[in-house]
């Protein structure tokens, strides 16, 4: 069952996907051709050259400034402060001329023992040997994170504003209704892996940084373009770094954060700046978090072939061992009853169904017994005017629009091979009365730009709006105009203004790829 064979062929170079209307993806060759939509939010472009990057990290510049004639005590204290016990031991071992011989020898032995133990630990969980930047790149939902100009993106859940985290560790907030674009910078805001706005709040923005989670409070009425770092709360816990994923509960009361180095998921009470670690043995860390839209479950994959689904009433979890690799990405249906996830090394999308009997106040929802394969995205070759193009393969991330009608899948492709581009495949989905998956098409950008990051607008009126951040530093928005089947619409005024009405209806679009069997 190859799902991609039913897709329309990818566009030739130079053509970009503009929008979907009348069940068909429309493309254009030039930006000028874009229909002027009154609802189109800001399309942005961040050229790589415009960003001032940090040339070197803090530790490498230290040698240029530090006075080396400090006493041993001072250097030991500094080493302890900077890199803990190993730093202290290294310092003592290195300065063997100043300390007694037995001390330097014993610290050298301890250091060797520590390294041996940590290498043993690292052989159990290979990801622990990565540097924190590499670790973020490895586990991020963003394709090729370390090279990305736009490293994280987040729509506000209720309004038309969004936050963009850039390569230079700054975050910009764009609001179409306001002229000011605040830029957030903080001493601790390094290697931003994810940003997310707090639901049911106008101002709070959580940022997953290298060593901590920052919660910015950006007053939407303020005219300041550089909010001071006093507006940010710092949430840190020893051993909980780098933070690769954060998730607010949909009720806005709790914030969960995850780090591949820490086996515990931290659940923060942000106002009190206190956290509850949810510790479970096994897995070696937590890479990604996704809170279901109804707030009842949290998906928490680990770096090994195991993921957990936490139930948020009493915070118990189900273990889900995978066969092949770790769980790479996942997304929830809007009612929180269905979880789609992908596994590294496999080219399929799995589904899990959670049926929580209403009215039962105990949090023991009986989950499913096994995951079902809903889509197979193995490599498929398409004949286009410019030669064959192979699409498919491993999946980087999944995104499901808030109405549950479009599912976007970011395929990794192969950066070395020109005919295997990274591409976004979009499915039409239906969750009621049965779960169905239909092909929609591919979303492509300009030539030489590959998609890195995508997110659906949480409250788009006329269907779904997919925001894509490209490797060129451009952020574009692809609207999907449709009338939601689930939402009743009133009269003709409710129907969206279609930019380019087409008579022909795609025949392909009606072939179902996956239909759930009702037994």
């Amino acid at each position: 069952m190859c799902s991609l064979a039913l897709f329309p062929a990818p566009l030739p170079d130079g053509q970009t996907t503009l929008c979907e209307s009348n069940n068909e993806l429309l493309s254009g060759s030039d930006a000028e051709e874009r229909p002027k939509q009154e609802l189109s939010p800001l399309s942005l472009f961040f050229p790589r050259e415009s960003l001032k990057l940090h040339s070197r990290t803090e530790s490498s510049s230290r040698a240029a400034f530090l006075d080396h004639s400090e006493t041993l005590w001072m250097r030991s204290a500094a080493a302890w402060r900077d890199s803990g016990l190993t730093g202290l031991l290294t310092e003592i071992t290195n300065s063997h001329t100043e300390v007694p011989k037995c001390l330097s020898v014993s610290s050298g032995c301890t250091l060797a023992l520590l390294q041996w133990v940590s290498s043993f630990h690292g052989s159990l969980f290979p990801h622990l040997t990565l540097s924190s930047e590499d670790m973020i790149a490895e586990f991020s939902q963003v394709l090729n994170w370390s090279d990305c100009v736009v490293r994280a993106f987040a729509w506000h859940p209720h309004t038309d504003k969004f936050a963009v985290a850039l390569l230079d560790d700054s975050i910009k907030i764009y609001n179409p209704k306001s002229a000011t674009t605040p830029t957030l910078k903080h001493r601790l805001q390094r290697s931003v892996a994810a940003v997310q706005w707090k639901p049911l709040c106008a101002s709070a923005l959580a940022v997953a940084c290298q060593n901590c989670v920052l919660v910015w409070h950006v007053d939407p009425c303020s005219l300041s373009t550089r909010p001071s770092s006093g507006c940010a709360q710092v949430l840190s816990h020893p051993g909980h770094s780098p933070v690769t994923s954060i998730a607010w509960s949909p009720s806005g009361s709790l914030l969960a954060s995850a780090s591949p180095m820490d086996t515990a998921v931290m659940v923060w009470d942000v106002a009190a700046e206190s956290c509850v670690p949810l510790q479970r043995v096994g897995g070696g860390g937590v890479t990604f978090l996704s809170w279901s839209p109804d707030g009842s479950h949290v998906l928490a994959p680990t770096p090994s072939a195991l993921f957990r689904v936490w139930e948020t009433r009493m915070w118990t979890c189900e273990r889900w061992p995978c066969v092949k690799g770790r769980c790479q990405s996942g997304c929830w249906s809007p009612d929180g009853s269905r979880l789609l996830f992908t596994v590294q090394g496999e080219t399929v999308i799995y589904a899990l169904t959670f049926t929580d009997a209403p009215g039962i106040s105990t949090g023991t929802s009986k989950g499913p017994q096994a995951a079902a394969v809903v889509a197979d995205l193995s490599e498929t070759s398409f004949n286009t005017a410019h030669g064959d193009v192979i699409v498919g393969g491993e999946i980087q991330s999944l995104a499901w629009d808030p109405r549950g009608e479009r599912l976007a899948v970011l395929l990794k492709g192969d950066p070395q091979a020109a005919d295997r581009p990274a591409i976004i495949a979009v499915f039409k989905t239906r969750t009621n009365p049965v779960f169905e998956l239909l092909p929609c098409g591919f979303v492509q950008g300009e030539a030489d730009a590959e998609p890195r990051l995508m997110q659906f607008h949480p409250s788009f009126q006329h269907g779904a709006l997919l925001t894509v951040c490209w490797s060129s530093g451009r952020i574009t928005h692809v609207p999907f105009y449709f009338l939601s089947a689930g939402v009743p619409h009133f009269g003709l005024s409710g129907s969206p203004l279609l930019p380019r009405p087409q008579e022909r209806c795609s025949a392909l679009a009606n072939q179902s790829l996956f239909t759930e069997m009702i037994s």
Partner: protein
């Protein structure tokens, strides 16, 4: 009435103590192994430990330790509180420490510390085992001599027990906080266990350090006293321990530390178990078909004031049921069978709104106090005593003005003010604020503090905080500050300025001058300044000390309103929506104003490794966040339908900001 429910607390406490007693043998075994361990003979040590643990002496000391745990558990139950007591100045803290109740607590902990230390001494054995030993003097005669090692361990137990009890007051260790993340008891216990180990180890370290210093200087006093009373002699051939050489004994220090850790660990475990058991969610029935069980139902328990923990448990249950349980929500929205009245919803919403209105009133009163006296009110407590006679004159009007606070007011008053005024007196901290006492200010306040129905918009806009803010100004300036688009206020308040201007009499002015003089005089004394100076943010913390209740009330009511959009078949919530919204908006305004005060928005320092729960220090931030979220929850649920809700123009404007996500 609430006996059945109050019994729940006792049963929970009993269960927690039982678990603590059950955990005692393994903890003691670990302690024995750690205290007698020697690197050179590991096997020998372990076999020795096993034979020791099964001996009669060990069993006797285990029974003693069980008695201590029972006592600690009882003291926990007796002294716990869900609303922390916050001292606003050094002198208030001193007052708390010297309170007779606290004295009883401290001495009990001292005695229990000695008992635990005796058990430790017996189990460690060796040179610590007995208090006396036979020794020969230089002249050849044999006496019983004092074993100073035994004594130093016993005194260490007393010292650690005493300092535990003192630190308990300073860190509010008897405060029981409720967690936002619900977990099963076992998982919560397992999660907090490393913290308890760390806390007891570090606390023991500090206590032993202090103890060693104290013993070095004052150790001769108990030594001489014990020798005299027990008729023991001092062995002059052995080095005394209250000297530098005597105390620099690593093995002694290690045994002191491990014993103190053991003592604190068992007590902390008891405290932790007590907290976990007592704060567990309790499911109150929403309604009962039997009338004799009606007093156990949620609406009834919510309105009860005593015991406070039941009210908190009921509010917690309300917040959870409104969030997670559609069937129980359905019961809340249901109508009574004969009559068709939404009694459940009415009782719940009335109680929640009265809680919120109470907090609003407290905040407004506090803000007015600070605003009239300015920031210079830092030195006040010393002179409050003298002016309390004035308060008693005006207290009559205040009593009329403010309804009885539903919760016990913990206000930033000094000890003196609290002890003198006491009881259900007004929460107003500074008695010398003429505005609040004056009959002029009362209409607005009265309107605000009046029962909930008065919060509704049909009573005109005078009660809105915008106007209220101007009331104190009105007195000194002209009346045209009223012209802010709102309808003219009641004629009574317009007429009053003329009466007011002539009121301050000569006597009042004289008293005012004297007060200023006394204040000035006292301000020059450094010690008095130190003792009486207000601790920064303490008054803010004290204002919000019981805000966990308000947070749950806000969450409960906002989730119920959100659910009512689809679940409320009879429209019972709609009738209350205007009053709820205006109540929340008034509170929002008051909270916003409070956070503009100095120190109100400064974050407390995060102190790790203490068993005291510091959540009470950040309750005001939690309340602010919850309040905003609650309003947003209502506005996002109802959206444009809110335009149909009747409310004053100013509230509509505020609400519009929330609808547009601009706040």
């Amino acid at each position: 009435m609430a006996d059945c429910s109050a019994q729940v607390i006792c049963w929970r406490a009993a269960a927690s103590i039982a678990w603590a007693v059950l955990l005692l043998p393994p903890v003691t075994a670990v302690f024995v192994i750690l205290s007698r361990f020697s690197l050179l003979h590991p096997i020998h040590t372990i076999s020795e430990c096993f034979s020791l643990l099964t001996s009669a002496g060990a069993i006797f000391s285990l029974i003693l330790l069980c008695g201590v745990i029972l006592m600690v558990g009882f003291l926990n139950l007796e002294y716990y509180t869900v609303i922390p007591t916050i001292a606003c100045s050094k002198i208030a803290l001193l007052g708390q420490l010297l309170h007779p109740r606290q004295f009883v607590n401290s001495s009990a902990h001292c005695i229990m510390g000695i008992i635990v230390a005796w058990c430790c001494a017996v189990t460690i054995g060796g040179r610590y085992e007995t208090i006396g030993y036979p020794c020969t003097h230089s002249d050849g005669s044999t006496h019983m001599c004092l074993n100073e090692y035994h004594l130093i361990l016993l005194l260490a137990g007393a010292f650690v027990g005493f300092s535990h009890s003192l630190l308990g007051v300073i860190h509010n260790m008897n405060f029981v906080s409720f967690h936002t993340v619900q977990q099963y008891k076992y998982l919560r216990f397992k999660g907090s266990l490393p913290l308890v180990v760390k806390c007891s180890a570090t606390q023991a370290l500090y206590s032993v350090r202090n103890y060693v210093v104290v013993y070095f200087f004052l150790g001769y006093i108990p030594k001489a006293w014990i020798c005299k009373t027990l008729n023991l002699h001092l062995n002059s051939s052995i080095h005394p321990l209250d000297s530098i050489a005597g105390l620099l004994d690593l093995s002694l220090l290690y045994h002191l530390w491990i014993s103190a850790t053991f003592l604190l660990f068992t007590w902390y475990i008891t405290l932790l178990l007590f907290r976990i058991f007592v704060t567990e969610v309790y499911n109150f029935p929403v309604q009962s078909s039997f009338t004799e069980e009606a007093h156990q139902c949620l609406p009834k328990v919510l309105t009860d004031k005593e015991p406070m923990i039941l009210k908190f448990l009921a509010l917690q249950d309300l917040a959870l049921l409104s969030q997670h349980s559609p069937s129980r929500r359905c019961e809340v929205f249901s109508l009574s069978q004969p009559g068709g009245h939404p009694h459940n919803w009415n009782a719940i919403s009335r109680e929640c709104l009265s809680l919120l209105a109470d907090l609003t009133q407290r905040l407004v009163a506090y803000h007015d106090t600070v605003a009239t006296n300015g920031r210079a009110k830092s030195l006040s407590t010393g002179s409050e005593r003298k002016t309390s006679s004035e308060t008693s004159v005006t207290s009559g009007t205040e009593d009329l003005m403010s309804p009885r606070p539903t919760l016990m007011m913990k206000t930033p008053a000094s000890v003196f003010a609290r002890s003198i005024v006491g009881g259900p007196q007004s929460p107003l901290t500074a008695p010398f604020t003429p505005d609040l006492d004056s009959p002029f200010a009362s209409p607005s306040l009265r309107r605000l503090t009046a029962p909930v129905e008065q919060c509704s918009p049909w009573h005109g806009t005078v009660q809105s905080p915008h106007v209220m803010r101007r009331v104190p100004k009105l007195w000194s300036t002209s009346t045209d500050s009223q012209a802010n688009g709102s309808p003219p206020p009641s004629p009574a308040s317009v007429a009053s300025p003329q009466q007011q201007t002539s009121k301050p009499s000569l006597l009042a002015q004289f008293l005012q001058n004297r007060k200023e003089q006394v204040k000035h005089f006292l301000a020059k004394r450094v010690l008095i300044m130190y003792l009486f100076n207000k601790l920064p943010e303490a008054s803010s913390q004290a204002l919000f000390a019981d805000s966990q209740a308000h947070i749950w009330a806000l969450e409960g009511i906002s989730y119920l309103i959100q659910a009512s959009f689809s679940e409320d078949q009879f429209g019972v919530v709609q009738t209350a929506l205007p009053s709820i919204l205006s109540c929340m908006l008034v509170l929002q305004e008051a909270v916003d104003r409070h956070f503009k005060l100095p120190h109100a928005s400064s974050k407390p320092l995060r102190s790790a490794s203490s068993m005291g729960d510091p959540t009470y220090k950040t309750l005001r931030f939690a309340l602010r966040a919850t309040l905003k979220t609650a309003i947003y929850r209502i506005t996002t649920t109802f959206g444009d339908h809110l335009n149909a809700v009747q409310m004053s123009a100013e509230h509509r404007k505020r609400l519009q900001q929330f609808v547009e996500y601009k706040d």
